[in-house]
Symmetry: C2
Subunit: 114 residues, 2 copies
DNA sequence: TTGATATTTTCCGATATGGGAATATAATTG
DNA sequence: CAATTATATTCCCATATCGGAAAATATCAA
């Protein structure tokens, strides 16, 4: 048996750096395939295929607008991932202490940019 | 080229369901390879290889104890993942505000399932 | 050293994957 | 309908990956 799960779940969908780029580019707005391809410098078929994967796991939504398809993030689908990481949070939390309190405030949140 | 980055980063390491199982099993305690293999019903070489991947991205630490190797989670390494999901957090919070609108209809979201 | 136990590594086969090129489909316009 | 634009899908190839079996290490004990 090869790769056990394939990318049929959010974890796998997000494992691909290109797909994370697409999600980041998409967040908060609706974009068509061509704009994504241009902005991220990917081939159009490649973008289409990535979007398909993202759509299959519910990370993006698609809506037709004339000849174009407009894609947007369905952030709700990221929650399972977030919650999975939360499981481990208390184990790193002692190193953060106060930061956690500020973390709830959007303006002075720490930046990691990784 | 297949998966662009290979599993040289946390996202890829965690994309594998087996590795997530290992991390969950490991959280908060130290376990040797054999115990992991037995508890999760995996082949022992398979576990070793997964642990290697996890170790290479810093998700686990290894310590020798006699003939055994004891593995433990380094939760700190999960933070990048956590923080990445945080980027999207306000968008699902935003959606939560509206969830009551859809509350009556369990599923009116488009499904593509192709 | 020899033997037993624990783990890692190597080799292998089956399969999944991403990207590009080409092709197909869809929607709009004339 | 034909032409154009925007996306999706198919085909092909190179490569990564998982798992199992077998072999290689490592550690301890007698």
């Amino acid at each position: 048996m090869p790769r056990a799960t394939t990318n049929a779940d959010v974890f796998n969908a997000v494992a691909e750096a290109r797909r994370r780029e697409i999600l980041s580019f998409l967040v908060g707005s609706e974009r068509c395939v061509g704009d994504i391809a241009e902005a991220l410098e990917m081939g159009q078929p490649s973008v289409s295929k990535h979007l398909k994967v993202l759509r299959e796991v519910g990370l993006v939504r698609a809506r037709r607008d004339g000849r174009r398809m407009l894609y947007s993030v369905d952030a709700e689908a990221i929650r399972p991932l977030h919650e999975w990481t939360e499981t481990f949070r208390r184990y790193w939390r002692h190193q953060l202490d106060r930061i956690k309190d500020r973390a709830e405030r959007p303006d002075d949140r720490e930046r990691t940019d990784s």
